[in-house]
Symmetry: C2
Subunit: 225 residues, 2 copies
Amino acid sequence: MTVEPGQPTPADAVYLRLRRRLIEGHYPPGSRLVEERFAHDLGVSRTPIRQALARAAAAGLVQLFPNRGAVARRFALDDLLEIYELRAVLEGHAAARAATQIDAQQLDALEATASALEQAPAHGFASRTDEVHFLVAQSAHFHDTIIAASGNQRLAAMLGNVVNVPLQFRSFYWYSAEERRISNFFHRSILTALRHGDADRARAMMQEHIYHGRDVLIQSLREEG
Amino acid sequence: MTVEPGQPTPADAVYLRLRRRLIEGHYPPGSRLVEERFAHDLGVSRTPIRQALARAAAAGLVQLFPNRGAVARRFALDDLLEIYELRAVLEGHAAARAATQIDAQQLDALEATASALEQAPAHGFASRTDEVHFLVAQSAHFHDTIIAASGNQRLAAMLGNVVNVPLQFRSFYWYSAEERRISNFFHRSILTALRHGDADRARAMMQEHIYHGRDVLIQSLREEG
DNA sequence: GTTAGAGTTATTGTACCCAATTTGCGGAAA
DNA sequence: TTTCCGCAAATTGGGTACAATAACTCTAAC
């Protein structure tokens, strides 16, 4: 009787699988994404595939060309600059708003996540890849908590799309121990600012955190080629 | 979001028509949008209709419920607060970036648009509705020019979605002569700041311009019920 | 050797079909 | 009267067939 959510449909699962593979860089940028191939691989018809591709296009993960199909999005340096600029503006704003609205439970969550990031080396991961995946997930959780604390659902949705960039581009940062220390320092600074309700400092630290991450990424790309 | 080659398909036309009618408030918020009805009205099958509805959902114009179809989005007060907050942040940033990047041609365009807004009353429109539509279009052009001058295409795309709010909500502002004068003042202030390359002032004026528009809108909604 | 053109192939876009789910109504029981 | 159950109508979701468009190849002419 209530007008509530509705359970996720099979098509949602198709989209999530496609999205996951795109984010993890499973398809080379610029490669064609033929519908029939996905339909065969996932055991469904082209109909849900087309829906998933349309959603991926709206999220900026693929480009759609009329009568020519979908292509895995190619991220040039300009794209990364645009994305990090938007992240800095939007997450900086989210941090500022969170400073005056965050509750104790969310602060606890941030504290736990920050600690997990600091103590990750002691966990003894089976492989470097496993550890980086853990760090990426924890970091994303830290940021998501602050975004949620800003109380603006549209802001959260927007950032959800913007941050949808292949994992390859997000992982560089976490490979250097020094960068991880700097990141942890920023997390602590942001957390302190949020605890003190200091909106300006929260915004400044968050923006600097993101711009620093951008610079490390670009530097890494330059060195790797 | 196709950018480059290929001809627009019939489905694109279907989406544009649907989107136009949604933005102009042709469908009451909360009303069900039955696929078959659109298919019959536009003379196509349900397939392109479903694509159009999916795109409209991604743009936030309609809400999609699994197995229950699409519903014209209902904009509550909270939604408007969220939207204007995001506009203030993003367009404020766009103005700041534009201050250091805008070229002479874009400044001329802004000058022309500002003048057109100031001299609109002398045009002698056939009806009040015609005049308001003209003002809305010119104002949108002023803002779009600044956003384009920011040079961040993703920022432009994001704002294109955020601003996609039924015309009904955007028109209130332009009905009062006093509010139009204030709006013109803000446009001139922003233009001056852009000419002087003053990023801080451009951002501040743009943010205040938007927040003022928000307050007028909310006040109007309160009075009208 | 290069290019223009026609025919062929591959892939997308749309129409239509049937299954699955939801919703509204009506009747029966408490 | 109210509530619950079940059936029926309406509508969406996914599959399939076919038309439309673009890409490709091969041939022929210059």
